[in-house]
């Protein structure tokens, strides 16, 4: 019995598992960074959508509808690749000599010197930006909607007493907007958390990749503990992890909501 516990303890704390545990940091980093960027892009997008200047309005609208119109995975894969290629292309116009281009046999990059090495850090940053861009489009919609849900009377009252545009915007409109935006933003945050499970598609050795490797059946004693297919158990752990994060986030959002919702929400009274 004691031996069993000892065995499992050392198995679950071997280097492979420790690496797995450590990889949770990638997931958490991507979620936080992606979330922060999504709010920033969302605010920018909503401002553009509300702009009086037609082209800006168009940009905001196209951004939010095109990005929401394609699957998040697709954009998530596309953006880092495209960004890398764009950078390499710009670099290529500066550094590539005709000979170097001629010597290049692969389809990309144009020449070896233009190549940009992407490691885990770079991919992680790109993945976060990519999450921010995708879910920023959703946040744009949420914030835009929230700005419009503030009761017209609240703004009219401010105007009627002589407040200027910016006073109305910042003292009344934006201040009340958060209450209407938060439920939507909380949804977006939940989507971001879930999208972090896709990091392994960008060559990041994240929790999903390790769960697969750890759970895969092993037949060779030389490789480590011989076991059959244990993957679903490892995935179950991730399943529970995500549910826990969701649960924690919900609690967090409820607390924030109670703060901002003071006076506006009827529940806030209770």
């Amino acid at each position: 019995m004691i031996e069993d516990i000892g065995f499992w303890f050392s198995y679950l704390t071997n280097g492979k598992h420790l690496t797995w545990y450590a990889s949770f940091q990638f997931t958490i980093f991507a979620a936080l960074m992606g979330g922060a960027l999504a709010v920033i892009f969302g605010l920018a997008g909503a401002t553009m959508k509300n702009s009086r200047f037609m082209p800006l309005r168009l940009v905001g609208s196209i951004y939010s509808s095109i990005v929401r119109g394609v699957p998040d995975v697709l954009f998530f894969l596309f953006f880092p690749l495209a960004f890398e290629q764009a950078v390499e292309w710009v670099v290529a116009t500066q550094v590539c000599s005709p000979e170097a281009i001629a010597a290049q046999t692969a389809a990309w990059p144009p020449c070896r010197e233009a190549n940009w090495f992407l490691g885990t850090t770079e991919y992680l940053l790109l993945a976060s930006v990519s999450l921010g861009l995708v879910y920023g489009a959703f946040a744009t919609n949420v914030i835009h909607g929230a700005l419009r849900s503030v009761p017209a009377g609240q703004l009219e009252a401010a105007r009627a007493y002589g407040m200027s545009h910016s006073q109305v915007l910042w003292r009344i409109h934006v201040r009340q907007m958060w209450v209407y935006a938060l439920p939507g933003l909380s949804n977006v945050w939940m989507l971001i958390i879930k999208a972090t499970s896709l990091l392994s598609l960008l060559q990041i050795a994240d929790i999903v990749l390790w769960a697969d490797r750890l759970g895969a059946p092993n037949f060779l004693p030389a490789v480590g503990l011989v076991h059959e297919d244990w993957r679903w158990r490892y995935y179950l752990v991730l399943f529970v992890f995500y549910i826990l994060v969701t649960w924690l986030s919900e609690k967090g959002f409820e607390a924030i909501m109670r703060r901002v919702g003071k006076g506006i929400l009827s529940e806030a009274r209770a």
Binding site: N14, G15, K16, H17, L18, T19, W20, E84, A103, Q104, T105, A106, A107, W108, P109, R112, N115, W116, F117, L118, S200, Q203, A205, D212, R213, A216, P217, N218, F219, L220, P221, A222, V223, G224, L225, V226, E228, D229, R231
Partner: protein, 230 residues
């Protein structure tokens, strides 16, 4: 000292896998380190999915692939290979014991392969019309499906299957005839990296000459071979 980034899959024991401390280990890792040492360069190992291992080489995310990759004409169109570091080795079929499979007219069989391997294209060309070819992202996943009875048959490198079938205690057995496809296993390189190829080939030749390569093969493949010195 120059750094060479080497990509491997880490899910193809005993060629390459992740050991209990989470680091890459296996035949190719030891060999790669030996080559680097001989050639006087520093090695850095990168784990990359098999699926995208060639594209990422071309994209410049690393310089060398050592991932149990067979040298084929098709791959030679896009990348270059070092001299083989593992002799040509027949591909083999494995199945659950007692399976009666008629290889003369193979039909209605669920055949598992790893996507992007020589076995995958072989199966696609020869068996796809009459059978179901199921492709998996890793060889381990394919083995799991075979073990769980979701596949009738698996086609993979003999050197990969040998230890597995031996260690399975009768859970798997070889069936049918071996097939010789591929020209041995080599390290994948970008075509323009001719200098690197030369360096590595030189080091590899030295290691072959003094028997180190065969010693490593013997160590990792239960002394089964195949060996270069024959």
């Amino acid at each position: 000292q120059e750094t060479v980034r080497i990509a491997t899959e880490g899910a193809y024991a005993p060629w390459n896998f992740l050991d209990d401390s989470g680091n890459p280990a296996g035949y190719e890792i030891e060999l790669g380190n030996a080559i680097c040492e001989t050639a006087g360069v520093t090695c850095e190992w990168i784990i990359n999915d098999w699926d995208s291992i060639i594209p990422n080489l071309l994209a410049g995310n690393y310089d060398l692939i050592m991932a149990g990759m067979s040298i084929t004409d098709e791959r030679l169109q896009t990348i270059e290979f070092t001299e083989p570091y593992f002799p040509p080795d027949p591909s083999k079929f494995a199945a659950a014991p007692g399976a009666s499979i008629d290889f003369a007219e193979l039909s209605g069989v669920r055949l598992g392969v790893q996507s992007g391997t020589i076995q995958a294209s072989y199966a696609q060309d020869n068996y796809a019309s009459a059978n179901t070819v199921v492709t998996f992202a890793t060889a381990d996943q394919a083995m799991a499906d075979l073990a769980a009875g979701n596949l009738d048959l698996i086609l993979a490198d003999g050197a990969y299957l040998d230890p597995v079938v031996a260690a399975s205690g009768g859970a798997f057995e070889f069936v049918g005839e071996d097939i010789l496809i591929g020209n041995g296993y080599g390290g994948g390189l970008r075509k323009e990296d001719t200098e690197l190829k030369a360096t590595l080939d030189e080091a590899l030749a030295a290691l072959k000459a003094d028997g180190s390569v065969d010693a490593l093969i013997a160590k990792w493949f239960d002394g089964r071979g195949p060996f270069f010195a024959e």
